[in-house]
């Protein structure tokens, strides 16, 4: 025999608006907080160039020709050429990141399973 269907409460318009705004704030916060806190782009560094000449920046004549055709001079190209990613990292930070990802999926699958059983029981009845 099928289980008595669960009757959810009706949500007020104010509640719907609050829920929508909360999600919106979360989305915007996730993107902009690292930017506002100056943490985004922390993985980049700048090379110390010996001199701002094409040769000093390890650019061959072929490369130099392309830079110049793109409208760059030695001075304006220097910033782009000196920009590098810094891939040094701590194993602790890597372990923490891995743990957060695994914990997230663990949380979602565990509570999804609990909710899924309620869905199946209501749809098909108790086995």
């Amino acid at each position: 025999m099928a289980k008595q269907p669960y009757q959810p409460p009706e949500q007020s318009m104010a509640g719907q608006v609050t829920d929508s705004l909360l999600l919106l704030a979360l989305v915007i916060g996730a993107l902009f907080l690292p930017l506002w806190l100056g943490l985004a782009g922390g993985g980049k560094t700048t090379l110390e160039l010996p001199e701002q000449t094409w040769a000093g920046m390890a650019q061959t004549p072929a490369m130099q020709a392309q830079w110049e055709q793109l409208g760059y001079t030695e001075e304006t190209a220097a910033e782009l050429i000196a920009s590098r990613f810094d891939y040094s990292f701590s194993w602790g930070a890597l372990a923490l990141t891995a743990l957060v990802i695994i914990a997230y999926f663990g949380f979602v699958f565990r509570f999804s399973e609990q909710e899924y059983r309620e869905v199946i029981d209501e749809k098909f009845g108790k086995p």
Partner: protein, 465 residues
């Protein structure tokens, strides 16, 4: 209002559903249209993270990842043919919380991709205007215009918007082919692959790191199944449209890499906003510049258009199921589109497009996509376990199971590490968002969800329940 939350919207006592008007060509256009822009911008950040050779390796490794995604997705989507795509799959196979998360992955990935498209279109128009002597032209009005105009097109109807996509996607793809043929990289005159394509500036660690933006070559191809409720023959059209889309993208990605790395120093290419347009500039041909300007603009428009289509359908589906306020689950009585979801997501896209750098926006889009691919590897295993082959009718059965799922999971793990290298803070910020949103759903929002309504497919009880 409550009727709007079910599979249909009731207007004057008549039930209205989404229209089934799309064929395999539209599915191809939806998938490739969203993704092809990845050849015109964004992929080249992989060069910045690892060098030119690393970007090519990333292109092919990401191609393998997406082949697994396409195989898995084609099987599940040809069986769970419902609006919302992977969201509907998660609802039937894993459970409501996972479905809520998958819905958010889709909305975030596509809305940020849409924002990235608008940024690129605005930047290109500003650049070309500057080259033509109009230095006062600013990118911001064009960013706003792109997002608002395409939202309006989507508001008016899916058939018109996806037919529009079919045409402009084909033109954008042809512009890459024409540039490749005009450049003749196999008989180099302008093309200097031998001198410009340097080695691996970061070693093999850079190869792994470049996988991060390597996903950008293909990100969004899984969006084909968002239109499952609007396709005339889902079991045939969805696998056909998705697989031909992957083949198209693999060809376009390889040609794009070959064109660009033989024309630009890797330090420039790794930070360029419009690399294919820059490649056309370097040929010195005005005709090619005009063509690649048109190709880039068309690809951004096609992608943004498809993104609005997909993000709004995922948002609409979540509203219809009460995972979000039911107000979003309405279909327009005349145009039969999820009009409220379309309108609500416009300011979200605008905030991202006007307020964040392109590489950050792309990274958040990639991360949301990556979480979705991780889900898919578990999803297919659970699907086969709960309904083994033969127990329910499938439109397509992918071969070599569970190998594609295992390969997909391994490549996803490598890509998380790739994002961690250089963008670790953003990765943690994004995970924090999904953890808080998940807790909000399970402990607050789930009480508004009708349990039995979450399973609508005519399938037998899943094994083990």
């Amino acid at each position: 209002m409550s009727d709007q939350t079910t599979a249909y919207t009731a207007v004057h006592g008549e039930k209205i559903s989404l229209l089934r008007v799309l064929g395999p060509g539209h599915v191809w256009a939806l998938g490739v249209g969203i993704v092809l822009v990845g050849e015109f911008m964004g992929w080249n950040f992989a060069v910045g993270k690892g060098g030119a050779q690393a970007a090519l390796i990333a292109c092919w490794v990401a191609g393998l990842l997406y082949t697994c995604v396409a195989m898995i997705d084609s099987e599940v989507t040809s069986t769970v043919a419902a609006a919302g795509g992977q969201y509907a799959q998660a609802k039937h196979i894993v459970g409501p919380l996972m479905a809520f998360n998958v819905g958010l992955f889709l909305v975030m990935a596509y809305t940020m991709l849409e924002a990235g498209n608008a940024i690129t279109a605005g930047f290109l128009i500003q650049t070309v205007a500057g080259m033509a002597g109009f230095e006062a032209v600013h990118d911001k009005p064009f960013i706003v215009l792109t997002i608002v105009a395409l939202a309006w097109l989507n508001y008016r109807g899916v058939f018109a918007s996806l037919t529009f996509n079919l045409v402009i996607t084909a033109i954008a793809f042809l512009s890459i082919i024409v540039l490749f043929l005009a450049l003749q990289p196999w008989a180099p005159t302008l093309h200097r692959l031998d001198t410009l394509a340097t080695g691996l500036p970061y070693g093999w660690l850079g190869v792994i790191a470049s996988l991060h933006f390597g996903l950008w070559y293909y990100l969004g191809i899984e969006g084909t199944c968002q239109a499952a409720e609007e396709v005339r023959s889902p079991a045939r059209s969805l696998p056909l449209g998705t697989m031909t889309g992957m083949i198209t993208l693999l060809i376009a990605a390889t040609l794009t890499w070959w064109i660009c790395v033989g024309l630009m120093p890797w330090e420039y290419l790794g930070q360029a906003i419009t690399p294919l347009f820059d490649a056309a500039r370097l040929t010195g041909s005005v005709a090619l510049m005009v063509l690649l300007f048109i190709g880039t603009i068309f690809s951004t428009l096609a992608s943004a258009n498809g993104c609005i289509n997909d993000a709004s359908r995922a948002w609409f589906s979540m509203g219809r199921d009460r995972y979000l306020p039911v107000w979003f689950g309405a279909v327009h009585p005349t145009y039969r589109t999820p009009f409220r979801a379309i309108v609500f997501l416009v300011p979200v896209a605008l905030v991202f497009a006007l307020g964040a750098p392109l590489d950050q926006v792309i990274t958040f889009s990639i991360l949301s996509g990556l979480l979705g691919y991780t889900f898919m590897s578990f999803n297919i295993v659970m699907f086969r376990k709960r309904w083994p082959v033969g127990r329910i009718k499938r439109g397509y059965v992918h071969p070599l199971h569970p190998l594609p799922a295992i390969v997909l999971l391994v490549l996803c793990a490598a890509t998380y590490f790739a994002v961690f290298l250089g963008y670790g803070t953003q990765l943690l910020a994004m995970m924090s968002f999904y953890i808080i949103a998940s807790a909000w759903f399970h402990f607050h929002r789930y009480r508004y969800v009708r349990r039995g309504d979450q399973f609508t497919m005519p399938w037998p009880r899943p094994q083990g329940y």
